[in-house]
């Protein structure tokens, strides 16, 4: 590769893309045939183009995690994302009148929430869930090789990295306890909707008897994060009534929300 200059590389790439005319192609082919040093350097660059610019294993894992997420978006297609009201694109064909009705209805709904919900303070800029969120240390073992794992990222409290990796590890047949930590990581990285989608089924399942308190608490934080006031209230009150772990925090959070 060191034996190529920029003109050579440009010429070779044009040739490989079929963009050289017949005369230039013939001249280049002759040079490749007659100059073994040039031919070897060209082969080296071609190999780099074909193999080197693809994702390495770490990036491949990240790409796979992204694809899993995209697949989940495709599967829930048709259902509008909760609490998301993106600006309509310019090619949207909704009638103007309908859009006005929708805007008025949305504004009225927000006003009513402010006036009547006991959780009106939830709309204050400082999100209480973040104040109450604390790292949940893992109970399971590290059985990894050299590669970065979701568990390592989780232990570092790099929740954004940990969340997809933990899910991927569970999907690949890893320790299903990581689902709880994926839920915690989702809460910790502000992805309330994702946390709810993981923790709600865990709470309903009777497989996680020893982790009910943790699941309930982090699910409550996820509801607070997503402004699901009723669900947050119910769950926090249940935690307070249970007088178990997180009861004090739940009471304090309720007080703050009210």
């Amino acid at each position: 590769m060191k034996n190529l200059d920029e003109t050579d590389i440009q010429l070779l790439e044009d040739y490989w893309q079929g963009q050289l005319d017949a005369t230039a192609s013939a001249a280049l082919e002759q040079r490749l045939a007659e100059d073994p040093v040039f031919a070897a350097a060209a082969g080296e660059w071609k190999l780099l183009l074909e193999e080197g610019f693809g994702p390495a294993s770490g990036e491949r894992r990240e790409l796979e995690a992204i694809k899993i997420r995209l697949k989940s978006y495709a599967e829930t297609e048709g259902k509008p994302p909760k609490d998301t009201q993106p600006t309509p694109s310019t090619n949207e064909k909704a009638p103007a009148l309908r859009r006005i009705y929708l805007a008025v209805a949305a504004a009225a709904a927000v006003l009513l929430l402010f006036l009547f919900t006991p959780l009106k303070n939830i709309f204050q800029p400082d999100d209480p869930y973040a104040e109450y969120f604390a790292h949940l240390p893992r109970d399971n073992a590290n059985l990894s090789d050299d590669a970065e794992t979701g568990q390592e990222a989780y232990d570092r409290q790099d929740y954004k990295t940990a969340y997809p990796l933990l899910l991927e590890e569970v999907a690949a047949g890893g320790d299903s306890l990581n689902l709880i930590y994926a839920g915690v990581a989702a809460v910790g990285s502000g992805q309330g909707a994702e946390a709810i989608s993981i923790l709600e089924p865990l709470l309903q399942s009777d497989k996680w008897q020893f982790y009910q308190e943790e699941i309930r608490w982090y699910l409550a934080l996820a509801y607070v994060n997503r402004r699901e006031a009723d669900k947050a209230n119910d769950l926090l009150n249940a935690i307070v009534r249970s007088n178990a772990s997180y009861a004090e925090e739940a009471a304090s959070l309720l007080q703050q929300l009210e």
């Binding site: 060191k2 190999l47 080197g52 994702p55 992204i66 697949k71 998301t84 993106p86």
Partner: protein, 189 residues
């Protein structure tokens, strides 16, 4: 949410932005690919892009879009996201077609060990990460996304024309090669 806001939101880890751009562009991109992407096989028969192929191309293009944003390889798009996705899908399709129409070599090519390929990829990533923002972006379009037409890259990056991009890529590639040789020598020690 506008096309300009989406990369920033993705960078912040906002999955609603991902979901929004993924769903918003899916149908038009797949429709376009099914209508316009085709290649001719050795018998001269046109092979059209099927809806399944188009969906796969779309998912790959979206995943790479997100990853390149998260890795700071793409900063600000000067074209619509749908145009960007279609272009990327188109180059993926070209490559697929190119591989499919390539005559099989009489003797099998020399196999390179997966470990050697992996260390090559890691060294490429390290070298690209050390480039300045502009060069990282140019190398991403040209080599990671495989965009071959300099005019396409010029449009996406807001450069005047393809010649400007060609010269820029030449400079960036030179710098990249220096860095690549340096990281390869270091990793060999």
């Amino acid at each position: 949410m506008t096309d300009r806001e989406i990369p920033e939101a993705i960078k912040r880890g906002d999955q609603r932005a991902e979901q929004y751009f993924y769903r918003e562009n899916k149908e038009p991109c797949i429709h376009y690919a099914c209508k316009r992407f085709f290649w001719k096989n050795k018998e001269g028969i046109s092979i059209r892009c099927s809806p399944e192929d188009a969906e796969e191309l779309y998912n790959d293009a979206c995943a790479l879009f997100i990853q390149n944003i998260l890795k700071d390889r793409i900063d600000q798009l000067e074209i619509k996201i749908s145009t960007y996705l279609i272009k990327t899908m188109q180059y993926f399709w070209y490559n697929k077609a190119r591989v499919a129409s390539k005559p099989r070599p009489e003797s099998p090519p020399e196999e390179i060990a997966e470990t050697a390929k992996e260390s090559m990829r890691i060294n490429v990533q390290r070298a690209i990460a050390q480039l300045d923002d502009k060069c990282r972006e140019m190398m991403t379009y040209r080599y990671i996304l495989g965009w071959e037409d300099y005019e396409d890259i010029a449009q996406a990056t807001g450069k005047n024309n393809g010649d400007v991009v060609r010269n820029l890529i030449s400079r960036c590639r030179k710098r990249f090669r220096e860095l690549y040789v340096a990281v390869t020598n270091l990793s060999d020690i």
